[in-house]
Amino acid sequence: MSISVLAPGWQTSMQDGGRHGFAALGVGASGAMDDVSRRLANLLVGNADDAAALEITLRGPRLRFDADCVVALTGAPLDGLPMWRPVAVRAGTEIAFGTMAHGAYAYLAVAGGVGGNKIIASRSADIAAGLGQALAAGDVLPFANESRMAHRELWRRFDSSQPQTSTENPGVVSAKWSLNPRPWFELDPHNPIGMVEGAHFAQLIDSARHALFHATFRIGGDSSRMGLRLREARLELRAPLELVSAGLVPGTMQLPPSGDPIVLMAEAPTCGGYPRIGHVPAVELPRLAQRRPGDSVRFAPMSLGAAQTRYLERERALAALARTIRDRLQ
C-alpha cells in the first residue's frame, strides 16, 4: 500500500494540517501554502481535513500507485487526473502530472491519508527549517494504516452505485460529479488581495501608505514556501525602526531595510524584527499563495473585523460542504 515517486517534479512535499504547539522552541507551523485546496482534496476522498496530502508545485511529479486507491486532485489546474472529484486509480497505474500554466500549488489526497512517520507531531515538511524535505525520485510513500479499509469501501461504491467515466488512462476511473472550485479557488491576477494594516503601517511615509494599497507589486523569483518577496514598489518608513525580535505568523507583511516587502507564508519563521506593516488574513492567504514568481499582486484594505467575519463564514461553508461530500460518498 504505497505510492512510488518516479520523478519529484519541481517541488513536491507532504503537507498536513500543520505542526502546532512548538513555536516556543522555534518550530513553525508549516503546512500547505493553499490550505483550503488541501482540505478540499481530503474531504473529496472521505478523509479528515487535517490529513496529509501531496503538495505539488508548478511542475508535477511522476507517480506510480502500487495499490488500488481513491485519490483527489485540487488546486491549480494540472494535467494528469480529473480534478476536484474522487478518482479511483488501479494498482500499477503511472501518472505523469503536467506543468501548471497558471497558479502555483495543487494537492493530491489519498483516501485514508498518506502515512509515513510524523516529525514532531506532524507530517508537514518544513523545508527551510530542515524538518522533512521535498520528495525525491525513489521515495516510497506508505498509505496511512486506515487506508486499506477506506480504499476498499470507496472502490466498492465506485464499482456499484457511483456513476463513472473512463478517461484515456485505463487505470483511472473518475466520479461523474465534481466540486465547483469557484468559491474556493480563484486565479484572477487582477483581483486584489485583502490586507489588514499592521502595527507599523502608520510609520510608513504618506506615499508608501498609498502605494501599499494602490501599487502593483510583482512576486519575486526568490520567493518560496517561507515567504513571497514583492518587488516593483519599494516602501519607505518615516524613520528606521529598531525593533526587538517578536513573534511572526504566516500572512505577516514585513518591511526589511531594502524596502521590498515580504509576505510570510507557510514556513514563516517563528520570530523576527522587521516592521510589521500588514497582514494578509487567513481567508486571503490561499489566493495569494497561488500567485507565482512573475505574477502581479495588488492589495485592498480589509478591516480585522471583516477578515474574521469572512473567516467564520468560510469555516461554516466548508463544514456544510464537508457534510454534502460525506453524503455523496456514502
Binding site: V244, A246, V249, G251, T270, C271, Q308, Y311, L312
Partner: protein, 224 residues
C-alpha cells in the same frame, strides 16, 4: 512596568507586548505570562511562544465567536488574555532548569575568536574566560528550531555582527552577535562571530522535547 499592550497579529494571532527592549526583567515578565497562558489551557489557543519582550499567541477564531455581533474573535481573545496577564505572577518565572554546555573554544571550531579578541581589546584567553564565566538565561528560541537567544553576555564582549554573513555555519557553533550570544543547532547561514563549538545536539526532532533548551532555562558554557 506598564500594562502589557495586545496587538492583533493578523486575524489568527495576538502579540502581548511587555516592552520594546532586550532586558532581563521585561523578558521574565513575558516568560511568566507565557507560563500563565499555558497553565490556563484556554480552548482555541493553538500556540504560545514567548520572545524577548512579548508573547505570541496563535488562536482559532472559530473557537472565539460571540453572540454579540459587535465583538470579534480578537476582541474576545484579547479580553481573556488581558485577565490572565493581569493575574500572571510577575515574580521570577517558574524554575525552567539549568544546563551546562561544553564548548571547545577557538581554533578551527571558533574561527572568529581572534577577531572578537581584537575588537574587544582582550586576549583570546580573556574572551573565553568571560564568555564561560557568565550565567545566561534563555530569553527565547527562534531563527531556526532550537536556536537559543541568551541573556547575560558580558558587555565587554559585545561585537557587531559580521559585515558579510556566512552562508554555512556548522551545527553546534557558539557565537556572539551584537549584545547576544547563542548556539547554532544545525548548519544554517549566519552572521554572528563563531568563537567555539559544542558537541551537544541542541535540536533533535526525534527527541521529546526536541529542543535541548527552553525559554527561561539557565545556561553555562564550560570550556573544554
Amino acid at each position: 512596568m506598564n500594562a502589557p499592550r495586545i496587538e492583533p497579529l493578523g486575524d489568527c494571532a495576538a502579540l502581548i507586548h511587555c516592552g520594546e527592549i532586550i532586558d532581563a526583567a521585561v523578558n521574565a515578565r513575558a516568560l511568566a505570562i507565557a507560563h500563565a497562558l499555558e497553565d490556563a489551557r484556554l480552548p482555541g489557543i493553538v500556540d504560545i511562544a514567548p520572545a524577548y519582550a512579548s508573547v505570541c499567541v496563535r488562536y482559532e477564531p472559530a473557537a472565539w465567536t460571540s453572540t454579540d455581533p459587535a465583538q470579534s474573535p480578537f476582541d474576545r481573545v484579547a479580553e481573556s488574555l488581558r485577565t490572565l496577564v493581569d493575574n500572571a505572577s510577575s515574580d521570577a518565572t517558574a524554575d525552567s532548569g539549568s544546563i551546562e554546555i561544553p564548548v571547545t573554544y577557538g581554533g578551527k571550531f571558533g574561527p572568529d575568536l581572534a577577531d572578537v579578541a581584537a575588537h574587544t581589546g582582550l586576549t583570546e584567553k580573556e574572551v573565553v574566560a568571560r564568555h564561560s564565566a557568565a550565567q545566561y538565561r534563555v530569553a527565547m528560541l527562534g531563527f531556526t528550531p532550537g536556536f537559543p537567544y541568551l541573556l547575560g553576555l558580558d558587555p565587554t564582549l559585545y561585537v557587531p555582527r559580521r559585515a558579510t554573513p556566512r552562508t554555512r555555519v556548522p551545527a553546534g557553533s557558539v557565537a556572539i552577535g551584537g549584545a547576544q550570544t547563542g548556539v547554532y543547532p544545525r548548519e544554517t547561514p549566519g552572521g554572528w562571530h563563531l568563537i567555539g563549538r559544542t558537541s551537544l545536539h541542541l535540536f533533535d526532532p526525534a527527541r521529546d522535547p526536541p529542543a535541548l533548551l527552553k525559554p527561561g532555562m539557565r545556561v553555562r558554557f564550560v570550556a573544554q
